[in-house]
Symmetry: C4
Subunit: 228 residues, 4 copies
């Protein structure tokens, strides 16, 4: 998802690459702080107002960081706004819906891990890791959001965070028991996003696993062929 | 889905191609008017009779346009009726069940967009766009139809259009919570169609996304290989 | 699923091939009569005893034909019993559970149709046709069987044949609303078979459709390449 | 899943290979005894205390065997603990959660069967067999575990072992009716594991079946090509 250089006449500012390299790690940290702050805000009991508001502040501050990063990159890219939004559509979506940020977090995490580790993972293992981790983080963010939307609804069936996690697992795997389901408009809107995103991510996991299993068995067959 | 020239002895009328080229855009507009008219008819409260009937008129007029187009193309093709129906089975289905028309709308839309845009989408992106847009439009048409069928049923669980949309999302993704389900024969018949169509379309989305992710990661691996 | 010639020392009787060729059409007819008879027996109201029993007789007679065919083929194959069962496992399963016979019916139907039709279907279309028709026939047989098992159960939710068809559609597509579900042991046993079989068959349909869509779009891209 | 020789400076003890070859069959037997003992412990009525405790003893003794095998292999591998755990992650997971052992059982079973049988299964058939058997055994273990967790919960819907098996089938195939669902934290935790594992395994079955069907039909087309 590295953005291909557009065929614009104006080349991007050379400082863009430096900014992107330097901002990677702070933004990764900010993403995790964002998620942690949001989790604090949602999960800490209402009595403990100080912690809840601290979480909210963390969410706000980190979101400002995302905004600054986006603005700086827009400036340094020297592109027209519409073109920038189009070539950076994932960044734009993630700025507006910061709970989708895990999609980028994992990317960065993968980059870092790869740099440090000697034993490279195979292709299928990397796709499974990426899609699985994204699904995990998106599922956590979605469970928080749906829980926040549902817990005060009068006829809600999702009443605890545990219910919400249980619902997320059944939704992402498309099992969909329906014993607990969102009933509010906001909860259902998030849910539809989770269904589609989860379907795609878990489809990738399943497909890769299937291909990997096939390749393992195919290899095994080859290994034995001469020995027979 | 362009229809291959059949091996009939009589060649199609040369005016056929001109007609098809010229009718493409008006039919696209008609399809959208059809869907909008149907939406108006279903969603506007019963009190506002004038708007509802206007919607119905739009549905009727545009459907007549579809019929005329079908008849003209049959005439110009110089084929026997059975052969024409067989080589144009999608057009025939879409004529009888005009709510399936989105399958063609998206096709046309793709054709237009492709002509104008420089940056061609990759193969997987095109399949995802086509299947995703088809699923969206079919889902919208299905939600309208099921809502119309269910809203006056005595023991219905789908009572608002919001419920219907929620049900469609859960159905197309095969999550299937079952908290709201159609209970009328007509609603269930539409539902079975949605299950099958949605399964195929979303299977295409999932499969393409999975392939695309694999190709992105495979490319990444190649890019790094020399630099390591 | 044509059975490869086993590496047995005794070659099969030359009359085997003649038998198989000659029995194909009568067995196809018998399979359809079997299914129709079973449908009559299950769906005709209990008052109309004569029709119900006629259905049962048709079931019995056709099943005897299957048995004779199996025995003759075993004889002519000149194989030991265990080997014959192993190389003809599908035939054996279908003999014991004749409601699975659609798996063979469609096969024959495909063979016949292919012989007669000039316009050969593409690979993906053939797989979709085969798997889709099998799913349809198996679904019908399963709906009959589950309806028969459930209709007199005290706490059943499947009370009409329509409910049963609706349940089958939701099961084969793995949507699984759960608004109507089997509650008897027999109904649930059939249901588990339908889940697995349906999953595999519809997985084949979905996978083939996805591949076909990809190939259509890939071809389209190629067609345009020179014209750009 | 044979562990590739790590690039460590110290080679593994030559006795390691002998141990692994010799321990394969006893461990396979132990795995089956483990599962049988656990089934006895869970399924035998509470009154029959002797049999239940015998089952528990079998579980404990066999688990000790797994521990000894793990320890011996760690010793003979001459690897540092962290590296050993990383290169044998599947063995480690299976040691901690012995109900996942079927994943290994089937592996061994496949190895044995392959040695003895002349007629080699095709690639797709092997993957389907492996994934299908794993799903079956994992499903059985999961049904036992969830039944144990749920049966005394006050508002449980899974009350009999039959319910539990029914729930497992609906979960592994992602049908997810939701008529019976776990309500305890332990039951739901196992359920989430089953969803993910089952999704992957059945995805492999479905994908392989789809590929196999495509290859059968493709071959058929080739066979006929010259004869036309």
């Amino acid at each position: 998802m590295r953005h291909r250089t557009p065929k614009a006449t104006v080349p991007p500012d050379p400082r863009l690459e430096r900014w992107e390299a330097g901002a990677e790690l702070p933004l990764l940290a900010a993403s995790l702080v964002f998620l942690a702050g949001y989790a604090l805000h949602v999960l800490v009991p209402e009595g403990n107002r100080f912690v809840r508001e601290t979480g909210l502040v963390a969410v706000g501050v980190t979101w400002l960081m995302f905004l600054v990063d986006y603005a700086v990159r827009y400036r340094l890219s020297r592109q027209r706004p519409i073109r920038f939004v189009r070539t950076h559509w994932l960044d734009t979506v993630v700025l507006v819906l910061p709970l989708l940020r895990p999609l980028r977090v994992v990317k960065v995490y993968t980059a870092i891990r790869r740099r440090g580790s000697r034993a490279r993972l195979g292709l299928h293992a990397r796709v499974i890791t990426y899609a699985g981790l994204s699904a995990l983080l998106l599922g956590f963010a979605g469970a928080l959001n749906v829980y926040q939307a549902e817990r005060h609804a009068p006829d809600a069936t999702i009443r605890t965070f545990g219910d919400s996690v249980w619902w997320v697992a059944a939704t992402l795997t498309t099992v969909g028991y329906g014993d607990v389901v969102p009933v509010t408009v906001r909860g259902r809107t998030v849910a539809v996003g989770m269904m589609i995103g989860g379907l795609a991510l878990l489809g990738a996991v399943t497909g890769s696993f299937s291909s990997w299993l096939l390749s393992v068995f195919a290899q095994e067959g080859d290994d034995e062929a001469p020995g027979e």
